[in-house]
Amino acid sequence: MTDIPLSRIRNFSIIAHIDHGKSTLADRLIQATGALSDREMKEQVLDNMELERERGITIKAQTVRLTYRAKDGEDYVLNLMDTPGHVDFAYEVSRSLAACEGSLLVVDASQGVEAQTLANVYQAIEAGHEIVPVLNKIDLPAAEPERVKQQIEDVIGLPADDAVLISAKTGLNIEGVLEAIVTRLPPPKGDPRAPAKALLVDSWYDPYLGVIVLVRVKDGHLRKGQKIRMMSTGAVHTVEQVGVFTPKMVPVESLGPGEMGYLTAAIKTVADTKVGDTITDDRTPAAEPLPGFKPSIPVVWCGLYPVDADDFEKLRESLAKLRLNDASFHYEPETSAALGFGFRCGFLGLLHLEIVQERLSREFDLDLIATAPSVVYRLRKTNGEWIELHNPADMPDGSVVDAIEEPWIKATIFVPDDYLGAVLTLCNERRGQQVELTYVGNRAMAVYRLPLNEVVFDFYDRLKSVSRGYASFDYQWDGYQEGDLVKISILVNNEPVDALSFMAHRSAAEKRGRAICEKLKELIPRQLFKIPIQAAIGGRIIARETISALSKDVTAKCYGGDITRKRKLLEKQKEGKKRMRQFGKVEIPQSAFIAALKMDA
């Protein structure tokens, strides 16, 4: 394939809130440029994972190469980059954006700007993008294009006078979008004669081809047979195939500057292909890698356990399979006295956690129980050493801990006026610090600093319920900060239940400790002995409940004809106790802990 002049390439992404029509617009663009026949079209071509399509979220970046003859008579190559749309994947998003020069900002003409839109558009601005506002769903009776244009100018600060008005659903003015891409977005820059330098945007595992690497070439060329080097690790691979997505995979001779496409090179796992890495030629390498590479680090951890202990091996295999395609989550074996054998797993965020959990149960048919998610705390010990805490159960003795730091976020919440009070109360309860409060029409935008650990504990659910589902929420990292944090242990019959221990701010410790004790009291059936349930900070009990002993349980009649039946029943009960967890002289059904954890989620 001959090099396409840079002037006739446009690389762009689409920014939109969930449900504002990003995928539908992408589908229309693909159709309008004839990349797929009508027969090949299926709804939301780009989201090829079942889960992604169902939930309308994109986990992996994808590209489609569109060929478009513009009104100026020239043929243009338009590379559409579909980026993950959630803060959990913020780094992945930033790399996808770094592969483009411009973005379409799609806003629902009746709903207006949402929190997620805002966070993503700022990222695009940070990436130096030219941005074209697109108002979608203007065919709806509730569409208010003038109001939404004004909102874009007020809230985001982007001129929106010449926003493109479309209906992706009906196909109205798709042409206008294509023309705007050609005329209003800048072409890429690059040097065809410089040493090869390409951005590794994303990668995924294909059972037939091995790892498929999505790249954006900056300088030089990538071609079949070439020895390439990953600049962060120095690993060398021989390219087997390069190509583009139309969205079908179509091999090409080479990929030149400004182009997007894929390569395969017999790479076995995606863990060997780090997002944001720079790919160069092994013999004539580039002098400097592209800026901004950082390895992905899990920020939310939880324990995952099979409900049926016999599924442990299956869980191990399933996690290994998932990791083939998702190098950003981590897992290591862990044992819990309450839940048995399982894994401590690290995720990029709560959505990531939820996605992995859902995929495990859906694709691998596993019935799982997750412990309460925990953020990563930084502990300064009295000897000056810093350690990271992934699991509250591993918290060292309080006397050796000098200080604890916790991660904070900056959250942006959009909410209709009517629910603002409730949302502010919620944020304040969760130790939030107000940064900004502005009104746009009858909607308010609240920006709060919040400790992440207050957000992983049922914040979304509460936000949804206090705003009747009308609040939209997004966040970005805001660094670590020292806090008055304590580890709360839950003791059953005076023995700690590792899976239930958690970190909390001292001010909330008693309330949350008591809530768990009360919950367990309801869940654990009365037994032969009374069972104390306690919440404790170190050796100090902060809440206590007692499950009293059962008052009467004896067979009234037991004679010569009943012995066999009674013995067999007893033997069956003993067998059933193997599923119980021993706490001294009492045995607690695992189901009680599972129920306690489920109620948390």
């Binding site: 059962l550 008052s551 009467k552 010569g560 066999t564 013995r567 003993k574 106790k577 002289k585």
Partner: protein, 384 residues
Amino acid sequence: MAEPLALYIHWPFCAAKCPYCDFNSHVRERVDQGRFRAALRRELAFEAARAGRRPLASIFFGGGTPSLMEPETAAALIADARALFDPLPEVEITLEANPTSAEAGTLAAFRAAGVNRLSLGVQSLREDQLRFLGRRHGAAEAVAALELARGLFPRLSFDLIYARPGQAEAAWRAELREALALAADHLSLYQLTIEPGTRFAAEHARGAFALPDGEAAARLYAATAEEAARFGLLPYEVSNYARPGAESRHNLQYWRYGDYLGIGPGAHQRLTLGGTLRAARRHRAPEEWLARVERQGHAITAEEALSPEERAREALLMGLRLAEGVDPARLRARSGRALEEAVDPAILAACLEEGYLAWTPEGRLRATEEGRLRLDALLPALLR
């Protein structure tokens, strides 16, 4: 001397099925008394031939309603047993009977046949309660039957069912005092239990009535022991109360985990043969049982040697029902397992500390009243 035997003989027929009863009982328009008599005698002879000539401690006619069999049947079986075994001088021969006037008429004949202890299924002294329980007798009839029986039999016991739906403690105390005044030396006082497959189970499941909850049932249980004690009757087993010396020797044989023969449809048996304790049971359906005995001399459907673990569990689950508890030496002799092997030491210690179990001065392990009240929860934790 070989250990004494107890002999249980099952009569599987009733005039009507009571709504709470899950025993092996059947209602038939007519019963061929002669054939059943012959078959019971034949099965007894079969077991006696295996067991050998051993001391005989007791005979118990249970059911069903054994007072519905012809007294000649009891007479023949008692005579056979006396001939096949060596009856102890104080051999206890019990017959279960219902206190209907029809059955009362045959009591003298049963006494003549050799029965020396009568156990009457009175169940309640309140008319409405007798109707609820599906009984075919009235309260006055029951009292009359008791008075008649007291004149006929040297020993007398009767059953009552309590912890009935909505039963107040005061009402039960009053009813029980009336019963105690009728001067039996032994009472079986059962809390109403809903057994699967009974009419009550279906009614209870659809909410037709509710039983007292655990706390209320525990209070009624304590009240029962209190009232019985005033009349000198002590709880020697979970549901059985007697004047000292008047305990049912036959039932003690079960709870002390001795050998017993079980003759008749559905009867269970524990018999030591050649040093091995064997558990056997017989076909439950009366007609099939009859056909098998006539064909092959017995209707055993399953017989197995019990392992030391099984024997120890059975000995303890029965023995801990008794106020006297379990003698570790006897447990070891009967099961081949020491008490320390048979129980979880941590649970034992916890139960001793909690006051559910106690050691007697003679070194027996016994369940206290608090322990007996929770025995079904205690046993699965304690036994290994």
